[in-house]
Amino acid sequence: MAAVSMTVNGKAVTADVEPRTLLVQFIRENLKLTGTHVGCDTSQCGACVVHVDGKAMKSCTLLAVQCNGASIVTIEGLAGADGTLHPMQAAFREHHGLQCGFCTPGMIMSAVDIVNRKGSDLDEHTIREELEGNICRCTGYHNIVRAVETGAKAMAGSAPVRQAAE
């Protein structure tokens, strides 16, 4: 067994895990944060995207022990402590950017990361290219693109999520 400790959604967590435990398993099974999903196992679909030290990463492709000392934000940690939705969450709802909801947490975490990296003035082409690592089978992406455009604009001026969570 290996000891891991990290900060998840602002809370310090420690545990002894099998060394082969993936970050996503640690999040879902140890911490019971089931909003982060596993859709493929080959780092393609992006349903498992979380923020590790402020960067979007696929938690199905990281070992929990690799994240020792890291600060992790999952979909559960994105809204404000009072329940106020993050602008990107609100934009997905407003623009019907989700249907079955399974890819949605990873999609939203990636979208926030895109804005953190590329700024809030995003054109359609950029959004589509940047979403390449997230697969949605329901929406045909049309409304996801609208949601990201709107969410990005709404994020302008608000603090990047990694700072908000820390």
């Binding site: 249907q99 079955c100 359609e124």
Partner: protein, 787 residues
């Protein structure tokens, strides 16, 4: 129209939990002391199993059990079933081979279930699976759809030539006569490529056995939990229905693949009793590729006969349909009654004849996938129609228009009686939105940039809400296709709707609540939709075939009628008036010609306290149920126009414009309906351009991950231009036709028609990958160079 009623783009009630990570999918549910299952699957496409030795695996850490087909047999657990009987032309029943949940003596595809290992943890179960020794005698694989019946290899003893059935529909003699009289005959050979449905949530199951109650609970990723319970109980024999509860919680997409009753959930619920602990299984993506039922896989030769003026005289098709290694739950119906009755398209075709040979192969079972039979039919019709227009030199839009059905009801030669539609209205609107007139200019402009530009049409029709039950029963269905609903009004006027429909992305919690809010005048927040639990909802047929609006909501509507009727009786006592003088509007009961009113919530309270009436004259309470069986299928239809640009140097096709104009009848929530159209088109574009399941000659699945199977991504697709036309459906009380599958049905022929238009010839197979298109484009390039 109110802000939350029928026709309003209400934002979805269910979204809050999904965007905050609070959704509750099957794999999110855990029970104390649960064990984990791992399925040992066949590495061979076809083999006999001589011996399974689990001695070493049983001794490994945490292992509780290694169970095989022999254990199922000993417990008298039956095989998986196919619930739709098809008879061959000669009257003989289809040849259904045995389909045990764990192999008994033989495996028939790569991924077939050999044994289940149950252990304390998933990792232990998976480790132990490697220690199970299976002695196989490998047999030849049968992979190719077109030649499966010519193979000397027998997959099932009941089907010595690998034929499941030879079925036909229509009038052969009349059709042959039509072809003899034809001025033009158009011919095409078409392959409808095999697809993997790929809902983003992989399948999962959690079986729980309560020893004290001798009762089972199964949490599962199902589109129809009641059907699952019926099959697991009545056919597979897990437990009587009253001892088996099936819960399908949030389900992450289905597209048909979660209709079926699979080996894994059967084994998990059975194994829970065997090991005395809850047993959980969660599919990984490769397992999903291996063992979720695939879709499509048709090989077709089709012909269209025209008179000298371009009027259609007849259509004939011969299709070979690959059903895989076993008959999945509804597989037999897909290439028959969900396919050939749609071969009339939107057209007046006096004579149609279709022959379908269904075959076994050593590949994963094939069953319904978004559209189920209708995309295959539409691909045949719309590819033929486009080619016909080109062959006779008529504009493809004009050619469709002169052949459209314009009078309703219209009886086709292949079962269907179309009840309502206005096909030309959709065509006109689509031509306008797509700026069809401007296309030649856009094409010339693309040519100047060295690109090949093409435009393609698809004038699709589909049949949704399959019904009535008696009719589908006469066609071989083992179930009725009605829907049930129960409206429970609480004493303070809030409402719970129990529905047999199941939402796995469709937004029922919103649209169904809109209907209730509209009818009862209660706020949207006061309405809750309950679904997906056989202990809560008495019975239901689930969600597939775009049936939940037309059938599921009609059942709710019928139950609401009863609630309002009962409410009037209560109001009559409270308002001291005659029942016939009571009106109900905007959430208020009133007495005609007076200002006396009783709001809905107060009426509900009066119904429960029962102080104003005698319980012998009127039953207390306000709760009503209904079963609704439609009078006919519904017939959504529309026109999609695809515009593509091809780079002749690379063969890369870019979809530059997409127009969809659909007639779905009455629409409850336009935002949700448009979302369904977008998603359907994306899957259709996926089929035409990107996706394809490939088995090699040994029956190994080559496309078993997202590294090898191309899912449509955001940068593969354009934004879509969506328009609507409306003719109300006369066959249900709400006028709804259904919208879930339209895009996936319409899109593939529109896109291939656009590509074939761009490259100037018909030989473009799906998926039209850069390699396929590059080859096809070279002729056009030489032509361009010569000019």
């Amino acid at each position: 129209m109110s802000a939350t009623g029928i026709g309003a783009s209400v934002r979805r009630k269910e979204d809050h939990r999904f965007i905050t990570g609070a959704g509750r999918y099957t794999d999110d549910i855990n029970r104390p002391d649960q064990a984990h299952a791992y399925f040992l699957r066949s590495p061979h496409a076809h083999a006999t199993i001589n011996r399974i030795d689990a001695t070493k695996a049983m001794a490994m850490p945490g292992v509780l059990a290694v169970l095989t087909g022999a254990d199922l047999e000993a417990d008298k657990i039956g095989g998986l079933i196919c619930g739709w009987m098809i008879h061959s032309k000669d009257g003989s029943p289809m040849k259904a081979g045995p389909h045990p949940a764990l192999a008994q003596g033989k495996v028939r595809y790569v991924g077939d279930h050999v044994a289940v290992i149950v252990a304390d943890t998933y990792a232990q179960a998976r480790d132990a699976a490697e220690a199970v020794v299976v002695d196989y005698t490998v047999l030849p694989a049968v992979v190719d759809t077109a030649t499966a019946t010519k193979s000397k290899t027998v997959i099932h003893d009941v089907a010595p030539d690998n034929t499941v059935y030879n079925w036909h529909l229509g009038n052969k003699d009349e059709t042959e006569a039509a072809f003899k009289a034809a001025a033009h005959v158009v011919k095409l050979d078409l392959v409808n490529n095999r697809l993997a449905p790929n809902p983003m949530e992989p399948r999962a199951a959690l079986g729980v056995y309560d020893k004290g109650e001798d009762h089972y609970t199964l949490y599962t990723t199902s589109q129809n939990p009641h059907v699952a319970r019926l099959v697991l109980s009545a056919f597979i024999g897990i437990a009587p229905e009253n001892k088996l509860r099936v819960i399908a919680p949030d389900v992450g997409g289905g597209f048909g693949s979660k209709i079926f009753i699979y080996a894994e959930e059967t084994v998990c619920v059975w194994a829970a009793k065997k090991v005395g602990r809850p047993v959980k299984w969660n599919s990984d993506r490769t397992e999903a590729f291996l063992s979720d039922a695939h879709g499509r896989d048709h090989v077709t030769h089709a012909e269209l006969a025209l008179d000298a003026n371009g009027k259609m005289l007849g259509l004939r098709a011969h299709t070979i349909a690959n059903l895989g290694a076993y008959l999945s739950t509804f597989s037999s119906s897909v290439p028959t009654y969900l396919y050939a009755p749609l071969l009339s398209g939107q057209y007046n075709i006096p004579a149609i004849y279709a022959e379908v040979d269904a075959v076994y192969t050593t590949t994963a079972p094939v069953d319904a996938y978004r559209g189920a039979g209708r995309p295959e039919a539409t691909f045949v019709v719309e590819r033929l129609v486009e080619k016909a227009a080109r062959q006779i030199g008529m504009d493809p839009a004009r050619f469709r228009q002169i052949n459209y059905i314009t009078k309703f009801p219209h009886q086709t030669p292949v079962i269907m009686c179309y009840d309502a539609g206005n096909y030309n209205a959709s065509m006109k609107k689509a031509l306008e939105i797509a700026d069809y007139k401007g296309f030649p200019k856009r094409r010339r402009e693309a040519e100047r940039r060295g690109k090949l530009r093409g435009i393609g049409f698809s004038s699709y029709i589909e049949a949704c809400g399959i019904a009535p039950s008696a009719a589908v029963g006469s066609l071989g269905a083992g179930v009725g296709l009605w829907e049930s609903a129960e409206v429970r009004v609480n004493p303070v006027g809030t409402v719970e709707i129990l529905t047999g429909s199941h939402s796995h992305g469709q937004g029922h919690e919103t649209t169904f609540a809109q209907l209730v809010s509209d009818r009862l005048g209660v706020p949207l927040e006061a309405v809750s939709i309950v679904h997906g639990d056989t202990d809560k909802v008495q019975m239901g047929m689930g969600t597939y075939g775009s049936r939940s609006g037309a059938v599921g909501m009609s059942a709710i509507s019928k139950a609401l009628d009863k609630v309002i009727a009962k409410g009037k009786k209560v109001a009559a006592y409270v308002l001291e008036a005659s029942e016939k003088d009571i009106d109900f509007k905007d959430g208020k009961f009133s007495v005609k010609g007076t200002d006396k009113t009783l709001d809905f919530g107060s009426c509900a309270l009066q119904a429960y306290i029962a102080h104003k009436f005698n319980g012998q004259d009127l039953e207390p309470g306000l709760k009503e149920g209904a079963f609704y069986d439609p009078t006919n299928f519904t017939f959504p239809a529309g026109v999609h126009i695809a515009e593509v640009e091809i780079d002749p140097d690379t063969g890369v096709t870019t979809v530059v414009n997409w127009t969809a104009v659909d007639d779905f009848g009455v629409i409850i929530n336009p935002m949700i309906v448009e979302g369904q159209v977008h998603g359907g088109i994306a899957q259709g574009i996926g089929q035409a351009l990107l996706e394809g399941v490939i088995y090699n000659k040994d029956g190994q699945l080559v496309t078993a991950s997202y590294m090898d199977y191309t899912m449509p991504r955001a940068d593969d697709l354009p934004s879509f231009k969506v328009g609507m036309t409306t003719t109300a459906c006369p066959s249900n009380p709400l006028g709804i036709k259904g919208c879930g599958e339209a895009g996936a049905i319409a899109a593939p022929p529109a896109l291939i028609n656009a590509i074939t238009d761009a490259v100037g010839h018909e030989d473009v197979a799906m998926p039209a990958t850069p390699k396929v298109v590059w080859r096809a484009a070279q002729k056009a390039v030489s032509k361009m160079a010569a000019e």
